[in-house]
Amino acid sequence: MAVLIYAENWEGKFKKLTFELASYGAQLASMIQTQLVAVSIGEVADEELLKLGNYGVSKVISLNHPQLQSFDSRQITRAIAQVAEQVEASALVLSANNSGKALAPRLAVRLKAGIASGVNQLPTSISPFVVSKKVFSGGAFASLTINTTVKILTLLQNSMELKEQIVSCTIERFEPTLDGGLTSPKVLESHKHAGKILLSDAEIVVSGGRGMKSADNWAPLLELAELLNAATACSRPISDEGWRPHDEHTGQTGKIIAPNLYIAIGISGATQHIAGVSSSKCIVAINNDKSAPIFESAQYGIVGDAAKVLPKLIDALKVIKNK
């Protein structure tokens, strides 16, 4: 028996979310009294693979196959399912990111496993297996019972504290059996956003809405973000207007994020916007309307004109940073 995590890599490196996944997996494994195994696909140096051992992974199963080089979720599903069967995984945990969302449902069918997606906490009970998840975009939570022998969970990014737990870790190679049946999607072009802190990875996010008044007013928001080492986001009308790029659009129809700190500047706090940020640990709102709904979600607020508050906030932050 085992808990199996899918340890995705980015050009041969793991990210914080990989270790969050391991930290979650290790706690789950101890709840069901079994070991934690990770599966890694592609070329990752042993030294990198062994880092998983710092977060409770006792075995890494590493596989590399030419057919797995481009992201074909059908083939990758086959490979991970074979690993899951070999280690007799009773639970599989993937990140609730783009690749996790592509793989988890396919794996669920292949392994006949019930799935709870986008969880941010450990199960409340193991037998029956009950885990809480957000539903109605944060309007409620559901205690979901998974009734199958194998369970699949996808974990929201930044919802788990890293928990170091050094164990001895071994690496095993695995040859998956893939089929030549269908043509994999062919990558024609690939584009990377270079050098930016990714919104999904960021621990702090500074976000602007219509209250910023114009695209030309973004400089102080960007400065604040830089000082805080934060990613930048925006409400939907802002990306619709082309004031900011589409990949910054946060909310129900954009990105769903859970940073430690979300600073909403000139954002009214419409339910569709909150749907994307309600899992943030702390929300700060700056808005000139005291009755704006954003203050219902915020822990801290400043009522005032963004154009005036931002420079003062930046100055105050610089003072702290220079201390």
């Binding site: 979720s73 059908r74 599903t77 609730a96 783009n98 969302k101 592509a102 793989l103 988890a104 449902p105 396919r106 669920a108 069918v109 019930g114 986008g118 109605f136 975009s137 944060g138 309007g139 409620a140 939570f141 559901a142 205690s143 019972t145 998974i146 049946g181 269908l182 999607p185 062919k186 990558v187 024609l188 690939s190 990377k192 990714l198 990875d201 702090i204 589409h246 990949d247 659009h249 129900q252 129809t253 700190l261 419409a270 339910t271 749907a275 700060v284 219902e296 915020a298 822990q299 801290y300 607020g301 400043i302 009522v303 005032g304 508050v309 003062k312 906030l313 105050a316 003072v319 702290i320």
Partner: protein, 249 residues
């Protein structure tokens, strides 16, 4: 080429969810039901393609798994422009059951491309599209933010962590679509509403597919502590709280 768009029937996204029977169920009274926003955008894109002769798309169908009460939502999809509709008469308990019902429709028809929204705004699962693809043993692409069909050849953009890829995909395939797939949802015109009345909704009975999960109970979201306000002229107080109280900077 024939496209199938899978549509979910969800509460209007502005509605405040109320629980009933001590959290055993959701209180449905007074809820306005709509096409899941993602599915509506998927449908919009499918119709744009059908209306462009160079795409080779001939027909756009919609499919829904649900009881007869969802027919107004299906009619709305027909009014927006879908050519015909399918409904499996089953109140699905989870994504697995939904996908299994949809698979039974697909197996008895000839679709080349299936579009699903990235998630439904009710259960936020993000599962039906991928499950359906695996049940059919089709290729699937998730996170699709752009879709082009030219003479039956499919090109998509797929969002990945930190970037984007352009892919060429062979049909049959399932595309799970997200932001960018269409700009604004298409609105039904009077003529479309009239025509929708005569379009067919083919109803099939539940095929016995089971669900693998059940909702034991619902809970309201945790009440957030009320907002602590700081004076606009002393933002250093706010920073102090973020450092020492919330410990987030």
């Amino acid at each position: 080429m024939n496209i199938l768009v899978c549509i979910s029937n969800v509460p209007d996204t502005t509605v405040r969810i109320k629980l009933a029977d001590n959290g055993a169920t959701i209180d449905n009274t007074g809820i306005q039901w709509i096409i899941n926003p993602w599915d509506e955008l998927a449908l919009t894109r499918a119709l744009e393609l059908r209306d462009d002769p160079s795409s080779g798309v001939k027909q756009v169908s919609v499919a829904h798994v649900g009881l007869v009460g969802a027919e107004p939502t299906i009619r709305k999809a027909l009014a927006i422009g879908a050519d015909n509709a399918y409904r499996v008469n089953c109140d699905p308990a989870d994504a697995f059951q939904t996908a299994a019902c949809l698979a039974s429709i697909v197996k008895n028809a000839s679709f080349d491309l299936i579009l699903c929204g990235i998630e439904s705004s009710d259960y936020n699962g993000s599962n039906v599209g991928g499950m359906l693809a695996e049940m059919l043993d089709w290729v699937s692409v998730s996170g699709v933010s752009f879709l082009k069909v030219e003479n039956g050849s499919i090109t998509v953009n797929r969002e990945i962590d930190g970037g984007r890829e352009t892919l060429q995909v062979q049909s049959p395939c399932v595309c799970v679509v997200q932001k960018g797939i269409a700009k604004e949802p298409r609105i039904a015109a009077m003529r479309g509403i009239m025509q929708a009345r005569t379009k067919t909704i083919a109803v099939s009975e539940w095929n016995g597919a089971e669900s693998l999960t059940t909702v034991a109970s619902y809970q309201p979201p945790k009440a957030r502590p009320s907002c602590k306000f700081f004076d606009a002229d002393s933002p250093e107080k706010l920073l102090e709280a973020l450092q020492n109280e919330a410990k987030v900077i």
